[in-house]
């Protein structure tokens, strides 16, 4: 039946997936069995006992204690089994191993920031070593989000009031999507991230190299990559559409009206300040909701972004 499982769920990327999928498939089988039973009996009775059919009926029974007990107790036994099976998996998902590698997660509209033990911070891209338990300690900066990795079969709401946690152990190298699973506003469906599962050595190298992305790319191509990967596209369009933030189309070199009435030119310094200290100058007609990218982008990445923005006409 693994063809059916592969049809119904994503490939198994974690130890938890291996634990949960058998229960899921059992439930699929159970559903199929009882549906066919009910549909089959119904169909048969309709056919055999249709009005006008020449079949002996006699007195129709209105009770049958043995049958009623049977069809109450068998389902009861089945659900008790399902309950215990489900609790087991849930508890094992709730208790991370003591030696788990801890990564902090911050959800904010509409991106995911990850903080590694050595101080490295990345946006929307997590890298983890394979076959090692990873514990995520998560919090939101604004509303409730939810960290969902279908390939790992894990999910946990990310709250603004306190930390919640999640753990997983990836079983093979690969890339998995992270999706926000609690409605959080306009770009809820764009709040995606990716988890790259790599070997322990690759992870170590990447960690020490400062988590750089897009080495060797021309600057404006790197800029586009950063624009997409770091969630800028959730709030700043390229085609003039007004979103949460001003569109980047034709912004470079033009005058900008600020909320306090000042008029400034959107030059390199203005763009740099807007990325690293967005609350310093708010554009008139917009809300001060942009999160800062201080410490999240390397100098090269900031330069690349500015180059990319310059090209938006």
């Amino acid at each position: 039946m693994s063809w059916l499982r592969d049809l119904l769920v994503p490939p198994q990327g974690s130890t938890f997936a291996h634990e949960v999928d058998p229960l899921f498939m059992f439930l699929v089988g159970l559903t199929g069995f009882f549906f066919l039973l009910i549909a089959g009996l119904t169909g048969w009775f309709i056919l055999r006992y249709r009005r006008g059919s020449r079949v002996r009926r006699g007195v129709a029974p209105t009770h049958n204690t043995a049958l009623e007990l049977l069809w109450s107790l068998i389902p009861l036994a089945l659900v008790v089994v399902i309950f215990f099976w489900g609790v087991q998996g849930y508890i094992s998902a709730a208790v991370p191993p003591a030696d788990a590698l801890e990564i902090k997660v911050i959800g904010k509209r509409w991106l995911w920031e990850f903080q590694y033990p050595n101080g490295l911070r990345t946006v929307n891209e997590m890298r983890v070593p394979v076959n090692k338990p990873i514990k995520l300690v998560m919090i939101s900066e604004d509303v409730i989000h939810s960290f969902y990795v279908p390939g790992f079969r894990i999910k946990q709401d990310v709250l603004p009031s306190r930390y919640t946690q999640l753990w997983f152990e990836a079983t093979q190298p690969g890339v998995h999507s992270v999706l926000c699973a609690e409605y959080c506003g306009r770009s809820h469906s764009d709040m995606l991230a990716t988890i790259h599962v790599v070997s322990q050595e690759e992870y170590q190298q990447w960690l020490e190299a400062g988590g750089a992305v897009g080495e060797g790319l021309p600057l404006s191509e790197l800029g586009r990559l950063v624009y997409e990967r770091y969630g800028c596209d959730a709030c700043h369009s390229l085609d003039g559409t007004r979103l949460e933030g001003p569109s980047l189309r034709g912004v470079f070199g033009k005058p900008v009206l600020l909320a306090d009435g000042q008029r400034v030119i959107a030059d390199e310094n203005y763009l740099r300040e807007s990325i690293l200290n967005p609350q310093a100058k708010i554009v008139a007609g917009y809300q001060p909701v942009m999160p800062t990218f201080q410490g999240l982008l390397s100098e090269r990445e900031i330069n690349a972004l500015i180059e990319f923005i310059k090209e938006q006409k």
Binding site: F34, P61, G89
Partner: protein, 537 residues
């Protein structure tokens, strides 16, 4: 059957707007809830159109988010919760009991006007900015976002009273207005179902009331209870909200089950199997429904112990529902099955509710729900139970009591065509969503990963077939109203009291108060030779 009846005995707008006749109030509720269903349905079609492509198809993200929020709010508060109790129940309950009206006719009219007021407020939100919080209003998003949240929360508060007063009315009516000789176990099972529903309406709705009131006060006065910035707890909102909204889904399904319990015996022409089991299971479901709300919150951050308790209780509440399904199937054994429209829809209910209920097991199970929570699997599950269950049962009841309510028979041929389209369309729309969900497609998503497009296209095309079937249904039902009244008093051969009076009934329901000396499904035994032919006299 011509002659003076509740429709003709008084004419003019005033006689309707100020009526105290439960039948007229029921009919007004019927048209209002069907209008709401139509609006909610249009929104659904727009949503499915948008989801044909992984990115923008015909609207922007903001509009889409408002569309799904309004779709949910309209369908739940303006259609599903009131439809069977207030539209069909109002009409039929006194007739089933042999009474001349409900206990509190003026309260009944007040219920209707509260419904209209709440509905107008909710719909007005479309022009005052709309809301995009999802029908569940989770905080702190709902306490901090702009839009018409204040208006809609007040609308829900008003609608809650409409629901409560209907519940009060039905319980008092059942206790005090039964015809002589009708003891509790001679009541039609529809009454048991509506009674159990009324218990939930009375106990659960006030909690929704205080929840939306607190949400409103938090937004307007900054009274902090749910917003962490004001010292509140956002998960507390979820507890408050689901304490009502879980029992609310039983407000939705119990009346549907109640209709099925009426239709299957009549169209099998034999007594229901396990009358007491069905009656008691309705009340048991109502009671246990209050203990399972936390199964909406397994990944909310609540404790493992709480989740485990809720999961266990959730599985327990599944058993009475399963028992009912077995009872209904057993009722067809050795019956004389007559496949008319009400029965066709009742059988459709059995199949679709079975799938809906069984997929609930996935969601009740802790480990599996972690993966499936907030995905399209949940969306598919609740559409199977609410639409495949309640709405199909509503259609069964509508087709069953239509001749009684309006004195006209509809086209049986067109009803079969429509039913086939509805069945095929419904499954095409929602089966695909189970698979999307288990493959990791979250709900409330405007954009989605391209790998899900094929399934979304299947679902959208399914919605067109479903819509066509429903439009045809509306067509032949409305067409029947243009005929001269042609329905006999008892077109289906039912044994309950509503069939002992004319179709439509006179305003005072019965010429003389009936005296009851048998059960509601005590069909006369099929005569010896017709027993062999399976044909009633």
């Amino acid at each position: 059957m011509t002659g003076a009846n509740y429709l003709t005995e008084q004419r003019g707008l005033r006689s309707w707007l100020f009526t105290l006749d439960h039948k007229r109030i029921g009919v007004m509720y019927l048209w209002s809830t069907l209008l709401a269903f139509f609006l909610g349905g249009v929104l659904a079609m727009l949503i499915r159109l948008e989801l044909l492509t992984p990115t923008r198809t015909l609207m922007d993200a903001d509009t889409y988010n408002k569309a799904f929020t309004l779709h949910g709010a309209i369908m739940i508060f303006l259609f599903i919760i009131p439809s069977i109790p207030a539209a069909l129940g109002n009409f039929v309950l006194p007739l089933l009991l042999g009474a001349r009206d409900v206990a509190f006719p003026r309260l009944n009219l007040a219920s209707y006007y509260l419904y209209v007021a709440g509905a107008l407020m909710a719909l007005a939100s479309m022009i005052t900015g709309g809301i995009d919080t999802g029908w569940t209003f989770y905080t702190p998003y709902s306490t901090s976002t702009g839009g018409a949240v204040n208006l809609v929360t007040l609308a829900v508060f008003v609608l809650g009273f409409s629901s409560i007063f209907t519940g009060v009315n039905f319980i008092a009516t059942t206790h005090k207005l039964r015809a002589p000789g009708m003891n509790w176990f001679r009541m039609p099972l529809f009454v048991w179902g509506i009674y159990a529903t009324a218990i939930i309406q009375i106990l659960a709705t006030p909690v929704l009331g205080i929840t939306v009131l607190l949400l409103f006060l938090e937004r307007v006065f900054g009274v902090g209870i749910f917003d962490p910035k004001l010292g509140g707890d956002p998960v507390l909102f979820q507890h408050f909200f689901w304490f009502y909204s879980h029992p609310a889904v039983y407000i939705m399904i119990l009346p549907g089950m109640a209709i099925i319990s009426e239709v299957i015996p009549v169209f099998s022409r034999r007594p229901i199997f396990g009358y007491r089991a069905i009656a008691f299971s309705s009340v048991a479901i109502a009671a246990v429904s209050f203990l399972v709300w936390g199964h909406h919150m397994y990944v909310s951050g609540q404790s493992v112990l709480a989740s485990a308790l809720f999961s266990f209780l959730t599985f327990l509440v599944a058993i009475p529902s399963a028992v009912k399904v077995f009872n209904w199937v057993a009722t067809m054994y050795k019956g004389s099955i007559w496949l008319q429209a009400p029965m066709i829809y009742a059988i459709m209910f059995l199949l679709l509710f079975a799938i809906g209920g069984l997929t609930g097991l996935f969601l009740g199970s802790l480990a599996v729900d972690v993966h499936l929570h907030d995905t399209y699997f949940v969306v598919a599950h609740f559409h199977y139970v609410m639409m495949g269950g309640t709405f199909i049962a509503f259609l069964a009841g509508l087709h069953y009591w239509w001749p009684k309510m309006f004195g006209r028979m509809y086209s049986e041929r067109w009803s079969r065509i429509a039913a086939a389209l509805v069945f095929v369309g419904f499954n095409a729309t929602f089966l695909a969503q189970f698979v999307m969900g288990s493959r990791g497609m979250p709900r409330r998503y405007y954009n989605y990963l391209p790998e899900f497009q094929a399934l979304h296209v299947v679902s959208t095309v399914g919605s067109w077939i479903l819509a066509l079937g429903l439009l045809i249904t509306a067509g032949y039902l409305l067409a029947s109203l243009r005929k001269r009244p042609d329905a006999p008093a008892n077109p289906w051969g039912g044994m309950t009291l509503e069939w002992q009076t004319s179709s439509p009934p006179p305003t005072h329901n019965f010429a003389a108060v009936p005296v009851v000396d048998r059960g509601p499904y005590d069909f006369p035994p099929l005569e010896a030779e017709e027993e062999l032919a399976g044909r009633p006299a």
